[in-house]
Symmetry: C2
Subunit: 807 residues, 2 copies
């Protein structure tokens, strides 16, 4: 898979020259530095990717006149001396950022031929001057993230423009270790800027401005040559050269040492560290869009083995887990970075006890309104999915106990209050939420773990051999196979699975089964239910299992009607009153853990909408900030909220975190949700939706349902092909999520290693400079997840690679 | 307390004009807009705070020539047409940002006299051009955070400089809703920029560039007058005027509606909502340095009552809780904002499973090295103090159980494993950490709460009536008063309390007492101890109680020797082996919850250093990011780490959060710790330290201890004065924390309301435009907390106000 990413060839040092403004002397600095480099490194290149203005004035021409045997190259030249985005208009065809980037990459790669070298890459105009496509210089070259020197502005006003330009580069993730400018004495910008940047760990140096041009070409040339000669030999310039060359080596030794250093001080999450060594730790140098720029010692060894045609130490790797399911709008997204910085600059963090700020209010209003769930009207903020679920559980338990025992009773200590849920559920790693999941390898060795639930088996949906189906409960629960047909049900289209009106028989069977299970729990074990908790549609960490949505819907229905047979009630609840108010909860509060599945991960704002039910409490996190930083919300109903109201302060929900509703998180969330909503409505996903529609049979009912169709960014034909592979048991995809379940003769589950071979194959890649795929497995399931704006071309490439890799 | 903050007078609209560069036409735009405003608003002012260049060319002169009856004013005028920071050098005396800001504030306030008006405030040079003091324009005026129009750059290169300037304003928290520039056609910047800003929700408009200047003064003036006349009447300019005037009203109605809207959708932390109404919710419009810019309906009513001399709807309020103990380096800190943005641009979030990135490694290394605790060498990341404590508890329990039961035993389910701790401890709100605290109003109504500890009483340190003392246990625990002297011990200086070498007798008494308590726990209740958990020095949420550090030290000692009498051991642990390795834990793992007290909150990097002991596990959060966003670390020893090593994946610590070690948090933490360390070493705190030294008697021993002296940002004389007030029971201060414990005849504790009167008095302020103090109370304790860079003058002001307010 071709993907231009950040490059780091050990022997080729690259310096990218940005200007704080146009006309600040980028080309003169490039010439001086090329000349200065020549004293240390034999092979010096100069590359001007895009140049505007007549050829003899073009920068690379200039460079070859004055650059003292420097190889120079211009990739795209336009005659008019105007901004590239205007110049390109008169050209034969448009010039995309990808083309320029690919050209620069090829050119640099051709320099990286094994000899020591330096390449100076000069940009056009200022830092944010338009690229030929109309984006900016800094955005155009960002994927390469080359070490950067900023040429500062020596003119009146240049202090401000220089610092602003530096800030714009920083926001875009550049390391700008050097600033240089002409030592113009009237405004004395260089004195101010040297001190300013020194305080920020950036070295700044100056050279004299060039001599005034004279009419005689010969004299002018002589004067300029003398100027270049002198300038390139000053102590300041030589000091820069020394620092720059050393920095390159330091950067390489630093990145090489990251895994080893990490081994010494980092305790990684979810990892048996006897399996860890420096060779199994991946270093992220940076990330952009869908790709990490990664370094591994394995790659390093392969690189060292080659004497000629060096490999870059960094390799683009598709972020196949969407960075643990968080990523939604691409890494290094400058739009989100600026929003985050603005909130930091406007507020920092401001305490939320009895207070409000605009971003928190706006986000709360969105989360209450967008799911179209009349029950939701209150938002409680916390920091991650696990804390948000703790809050949800506290809310639900209190509401339940209050209703059934009366508000001020202390009798709840006598009750065995449990939650109702599904097997394989997962709600987080704090101990309170662990208690909501059945005993499993995640929690059973935690000394204080005490599973406090009744967990039911559930049927799953999948595609096997090109065929959509609902598979019944597995064999763990005998009563399930007794009460339900154990036959697999087949469906023509995935939409038919979601058309509950045609599944009356299963609806009834599910209802009877769940009712019986609940009664049994109450009668046999004497438990009280404080909440129903489910992950709608998709049980993530428990193994990427797709639950039959009809079953989950029925589970909610039965939980809500369950007061009829609530034999454990100390005080009967008035059902008639309940039914009169359809935003009040019934039976038990219904909590939807949408931490993973909500906010467009599955293609819709609300994952509950797949089930067609309205939960009483919804928890969102992960995608909430588009994949930038932690934030969580627990959204709930007035009925739950009012359970904490009294004249006694200690009846309140005495829960809170220091950074509750931190403005950066709320602001980024608002921007992310706005952007995601735009993707939902501006036609970006139309091609995916169309692809999934065409595989439906075109009945009237299907057409009618088109608005609520199931679709995925992963193509329907890819899914069918993958499902026919010998090694594959079944597949599923919805929204941005793809799950490939591999056959494992030794059984499935977290301990299975059936998928690790595929994972390793995808990570190894072609062995060339192509991008690889970084993925995570859960037992015998390998899943892949896209951001919601991943380009279709990237998905196509990945699908091809996956199909080839699957036996 | 005088403090210039953000202003919002209902009838005075203010527009601040920034330039993307110098020479882009700020003054011309100011003139055009003043003229345009005049058509709608009778009273139009023009203010140029700082002007450079000869008087007849000065901007306000220009304005009065062309501005059509606009009142104009220049506060500071320098003759040389150079940057203000250079111009001021030849002036009689330096000009501080505070002086300029105060001048602008006074001037604006004088305009806000009750009639409808507009004030246009023009800055000098570009956005980041130096102010007279050498800071930048944008930083100088940031406290006012006025609505801003950015004049874009119409020159070649101006697209880039305009966008960069806009980004620099955004980073500093400005709302820049408008961009304007000359419609220069060759480079056509205005076409590009209008589209660019439109996509970002910013309106941009253009006017024709001014006519060429002509030599004849009369003709020139005529031409310019005609130009101004025409320009001010264009549809684009009139469109802007309409939007700007409407925006002002919208901003006011928005801020006025925030409390009411919040009431509808926000579920606040730690609040009994029957006590909440729109009148008790404070809206933060923004924050800067130590001050919120706050709006309350109460203030609004007061404002409306005044017909003349309007009050600003916004009022500066000192952030007296340091935003729930997080704030360390001031709100709206641009340095932290840029670091956050850089990390967002370089990485976004990158998943941390088996991976590493530079910011996470650097932070881990700092946290392992800086506490000078040889036990610490592994860092586990999570999102907040509560999750970090869950991790700490999981670590400690496993290590304990493994050692005493053998690694693969499942017998731990039979043990009643508890933690050892102090009464009034608080470790977070997730249920696992709640279980580490004694039953209290925070947790006892949580249905799943199950206190799992043995909690001891402890002696506290305080100043009463000017006298330092250690107060014995309160009466709750009878065995305490039996085994320990119940007399209060008095000390000459606070340093004497920390000089444990002179407290041998108490050391012995404490040791005997704690030993007895532990044996009793084991013998009577048959518990096993999985960890000792304490908040060193200061028990925060439990009531701002300062524990006797000697007692906490002894508690650690006894916990560590406790294997000698470990009668509950199923398998005796080899003590001799333990003693040979001083980084291994003994007795039980010792967890220090430094979430609140660590990282310079109390003046030192490590709060453990006050006790002179080396915990096995340390948890840090809150100040970790300087007060910007959530991040938590659990740092521990190799011995604890190795308890999870085996060939079985399920023995690993299977805990993790999606945003584990998110690069923004780690980067900001690195920058914060660097800055805090700089404050520690560059002499910033010397005056505080000196103040606290002089109150010591000057014995040789004291001088010797000076390096490790106890000090606070709150002055020792203030403390003494406060302690003599009638309403005050006792006081304490250390580092940035001040606690005032008020007398309450009805008893202390969370339910006490003794301190609310003081809190309300501080919040009411003088009733004038002065800043008020926003504080939080815990029962009968009112505490105040500074950032670590709060100016001394601010602290002095607050101390004076508090002394006046105390009865």
């Amino acid at each position: 898979m071709r993907q231009v990413g950040s490059v780091l060839w050990p022997k080729l040092r690259i310096l990218q020259i940005y200007g704080a403004n146009t006309g600040v002397g980028k080309t003169i600095f490039s010439s001086v530095l090329c000349r200065a480099f020549k004293k240390h490194i034999q092979k010096v290149h100069y590359l001007k990717p895009v140049s505007t203005g007549p050829l003899n004035e073009a920068d690379d021409h200039h460079m070859s006149t004055f650059g003292s045997n420097v190889t120079s190259q211009c990739l795209y030249q336009f005659d008019e001396p105007i901004s590239p985005h205007l110049a390109v208009r008169s050209a034969a065809k448009p010039l995309s950022d990808a083309e320029v980037l690919e050209g620069v990459y090829r050119e640099l790669k051709s320099y990286a031929n094994g000899d020591e070298g330096v390449s100076v890459v000069e940009t056009a105009g200022g830092v944010l001057s338009p690229s030929p496509s109309g984006s900016s210089q800094a955005d155009l070259y960002r994927p390469l993230r080359l070490p950067t020197l900023l040429v500062g502005d020596y003119n009146l006003g240049g202090i401000g423009t220089t610092i602003s330009a530096w800030e714009s580069l920083r926001i875009r993730g550049y390391d700008v270790n050097h600033v240089a400018l002409f030592a113009e004495d009237r405004y004395d910008n260089h004195t101010y800027l040297k001190e300013y940047f020194h305080d920020r760990g950036v070295s700044a140096f100056s050279i004299a401005p060039p001599p005034e041009r004279v009419p005689s070409l010969e004299e002018d040339t002589q004067a300029m040559l003398a100027y270049y000669q002198n300038s390139s030999e000053t102590a300041e310039v030589q000091g820069f050269i020394g620092r720059f060359l050393a920095e390159h080596d330091q950067r390489i030794s630093k990145i090489r040492s990251l895994p080893e250093q990490a081994e010494k001080v980092i305790w990684h999450p979810f990892m048996q560290h006897t399996e860890r060594s420096k060779d199994t730790i991946t270093a992220w140098d940076s990330a952009y869009g869908d790709f990490f720029q990664s370094f591994t010692t394995k790659r390093d060894v392969a690189t060292n083995a080659l004497s000629k045609a060096e490999k870059s130490l960094l390799q683009p790797a598709f972020d196949g887990s969407a960075s643990w399911w968080t990523q939604g709008l691409g890494h290094g997204n400058p739009q989100l970075a600026i929003v985050a910085a603005h909130a930091a600059g406007r507020y920092g963090h401001v305490m939320f006890g009895g207070a409000i700020h605009e971003p928190a209010l706006q986000l709360a209003q969105t989360l209450v309104e967008r799911p179209e769930n009349p029950r939701l009207n209150r938002v409680f903020y916390s920091d991650n999915g696990s804390t948000g679920m703790e809050v949800a559980v506290k809310m639900a338990l209190r509401a339940s106990v209050n209703r059934f025992l009366g508000k001020r009773s202390a009798d709840h200590r006598k009750l065995d209050i449990r939650i109702l849920g599904l097997k394989n559920s997962y709600h987080g790693d704090t101990m309170g939420t662990m208690d909501c999941s059945e005993p499993s390898i995640y929690n059973e060795k935690v000394e204080w773990y005490k599973g406090r639930g009744i967990w039911l088996d559930f049927p799953t949906i999948k595609m096997r051999q090109g065929q959509w189906l609902v598979e019944p409960f597995d064999s763990r629960d005998e009563s399930a196979s007794k009460s339900l047909s154990s036959e697999t049900k087949y469906f023509d289209t995935i939409d038919d699975i979601f058309d509950f009106s045609n599944r009356q028989q299963e609806h009834q069977a599910y209802t009877s089964y769940i009712r019986a299970k609940l009664l049994e729990s109450v009668e046999k074990h004497g438990v009280s239910f404080g909440a129903l908790i489910i992950e709608p549609m998709l049980l993530g960490a428990g193994g990427m299992m797709f639950a039959d949505p009809l079953y989950q819907k029925v589970l909610v229905e039965v939980a809500r009607e369950f007061h009829d047979d609530r034999s454990w009630l100390q005080q009967e609840y008035d059902a008639s009153q309940q039914e009169s108010n359809d935003t009040n909860w019934a039976g038990m509060p219904v909590i939807f853990d949408e931490v993973f599945t909500g906010l467009y991960r599955l293609g819709r704002f609300s994952a509950a909408s797949f089930l067609g039910v309205h939960p009483d409490i919804v928890v969102n996190a992960k995608l909430l900030t588009g994949g930038l930083l932690p934030l969580c919300t627990t959204t709930t109903s007035e009925a739950i909220f009012s359970a904490f109201l009294s004249n006694d302060k200690t009846d309140a929900l005495l829960h809170g975190h220091s950074y509750t509703a931190h403005p950066i998180g709320c602001s980024v969330a608002n921007e992310s949700l706005k952007t995601l909503t735009k993707l939902d409505t501006d036609g970006t996903w139309e091609a995916y939706k169309k692809d999934w529609t065409s595989q439906s049979t075109s009945t009237a009912a299907t057409r009618h349902r088109n608005k609520n169709k199931i679709w995925s960014m992963w193509s329907s034909s890819f899914l069918a092909s993958a499902s026919h592979k010998n090694s594959v048991d079944n597949v599923f995809a919805i929204g941005s999520v793809l799950a490939l379940t591999l056959k494992d003769p030794n059984g499935s589950g977290y301990a299975s290693t059936a998928a690790t071979g595929l994972r390793d194959k995808l990570l190894a890649g072609s062995g060339q400079d192509d991008a690889v795929i970084h993925s995570r497995v859960l037992g015998n399931v390998l899943y892949l997840m896209a951001a919601l704006n991943t380009p279709g071309k990237t998905l196509q490439d990945i699908q091809e690679i996956v199909l080839k890799a699957l036996k």
